[in-house]
């Protein structure tokens, strides 16, 4: 156990040392150095939880939160609310009565401000109005999305012919490999139909899975297990890619070892 810790520490220190060496000759700028050191600070968690990691983690949360605030300000608050609201003021010299075409935006502005009543228990209930407006609209959007995008379209897409003529003619070409794939092609449509039906049976029939229902539900579980296996394989793939990306950054941008 100690050996592994030590080895990881040595690799991390080795990378840092190589970086220092290479830094004397490589063209890595200040930004790359900052990024590389922060990367190593986060990686240090692999050794164990430590103050350097904790500090980096908290700085990250702070920067991310600050970043969000600035983006909401420049990309939403100003263009969608503030500028349209004060647009009338620009013409104030032409007319004694300022004309505000987007006065209606005062409503979402007020609802937005009301959200902050959550910090004051006595008036916190006012924030429910704003919450309700958000929850209502997103629920409505979610309903139509699930209805037309998933439910209708997916059921329609599953109406496939039980066998396809192409698969049948392609089947029987010589060679064991093409025999296997020919068979798989032949099974494609039947399995799509059976797979969906049995999965749905497994999900929706809450009474005891016995007899025919039991067999169907069992087959449904097999399909689900295969799909979970596929998801697991893809998840491994995803996580590994993220690691490759970070190590590639260290080895190429920072150390210049990899082109």
């Amino acid at each position: 156990m100690r050996g592994a810790r030590l080895a990881i520490l040595i690799i991390l220190l080795g990378l840092a040392g190589a970086g220092f060496q290479a830094g004397l000759v490589s063209k890595a700028g200040l930004g790359t150095w900052v990024a590389a050191l922060l990367t190593l600070a986060i990686f240090s968690f692999l050794y164990r939880d430590n103050p350097v990691y904790k500090l980096a983690e908290h700085i990250f949360i702070g920067i991310a939160a600050g970043y969000f605030v600035a983006l909401e300000y420049w990309n939403v608050f100003l263009p969608n609310l503030w500028k349209p609201l004060v647009a009338g003021l620009e013409h104030i010299e032409y007319s004694p009565l300022p004309h505000f075409p987007n006065m209606i935006l005062l409503i979402p502005f007020a609802l937005g401000i009301l959200l902050f009543t959550r910090f004051f228990p006595r008036v916190a209930w006012l924030s429910r109005w704003s919450m309700a407006a958000m929850i209502g609209s997103y629920s409505g959007l979610a309903i139509i999305g699930a209805l037309q995008g998933d439910l209708v379209a997916q059921i329609r897409a599953n109406m496939v012919p039980l066998y396809s003529r192409e698969a049948l003619t392609a089947f029987g070409n010589d060679g064991t490999e093409s025999l296997l794939f020919g068979l798989l092609e032949l099974l494609r449509n039947p399995l799509i139909i059976v797979g969906l039906l049995t999965t749905l049976i497994y999900f929706f029939f809450s009474r005891e899975h016995k007899g025919g229902l039991g067999v169907a539900a069992k087959i449904g579980i097999w399909f689900l297990m295969i799909s979970f296996g596929a998801s697991f394989g893809y998840t491994v793939m995803s996580r590994v890619s993220l690691l490759i990306g970070r190590l590639h950054f260290l080895l190429s941008d920072w150390l210049g070892i990899v082109r």
């Binding site: 986060i42 904790k54 983690e57 600035a70 799509i192 999900f203 697991f232 950054f249």
Partner: protein
């Protein structure tokens, strides 16, 4: 006022979204688009509320000198600095804000997620056992997919990519479609409950 108004608001906004799909007439689509613009603005405030909450809790922690308060102080400092720089100096490409984003935000978040590679490998080693036929299905599929999705798998057996694609397109697709249909029905019923005021947990207590 405390309970009725929110239920009415949720009902109208929600129904407007749903009805505008079926009746694409300006009588419905105009107010619907107004409400969507409002949702955009209110959600932005909600985000800022979340950030304000993080700041408030952290500051509280610092003031009381609770455990790890030094880290919370760093958090608040980073938050205030980033927000101030962004709002005061702007967010243009090549500016200070962009620099901090690219050289601090990006590497830290990317590295945090990359740690998961180690955990999933060790989880695969420790917890992945063929205890039942179902678990064996899962395990074998995972192994085939892992080999079929990388170029070296092709070198081992040229059939791996084809087999993997078939698994993805047939049994995986059928099961995922089943899950999708189930989830869609769930989303529709939850959404309707929200809009009709049958589900009011978002109102909180009292």
């Amino acid at each position: 006022m405390k309970n009725e108004v929110p239920v009415v608001v949720a009902f109208f906004t929600g129904m407007l979204m749903v009805v505008s799909l079926f009746i694409p007439h300006p009588v419905v689509s105009t107010p619907a688009s107004v409400v969507r613009q409002w949702a955009i603005i209110i959600t932005a405030f909600a985000y800022v509320l979340g950030v304000a909450n993080i700041a408030r809790i952290s500051l509280h922690n610092v003031k009381r000198r609770q455990r790890d308060w030094q880290y919370k102080a760093a958090l608040v400092f980073a938050l205030a600095t980033m927000a101030t720089i962004g709002i005061a100096l702007g967010i243009e490409s090549g500016g200070v804000f962009d620099w901090i984003y690219l050289n601090m935000y990006v590497p830290m978040q990317a590295t945090m997620f990359s740690l998961l590679a180690f955990y999933i490998a060790s989880a695969a080693y420790r917890a992945f056992r063929a205890r039942s036929p179902e678990a064996t299905f899962l395990l074998v599929t995972a192994a085939i997919v892992m080999l079929g999705r990388v170029p070296i798998g092709e070198k081992i057996w040229s059939g791996f990519p084809g087999l993997t694609e078939w698994i993805m397109e047939v049994p995986n697709m059928a099961a995922k479609r089943g899950i999708m249909i189930g989830a869609a029905l769930g989303a529709i019923s939850t959404g309707l409950k929200m809009i009709l005021g049958l589900e009011r947990s978002y109102l909180g207590g009292d």
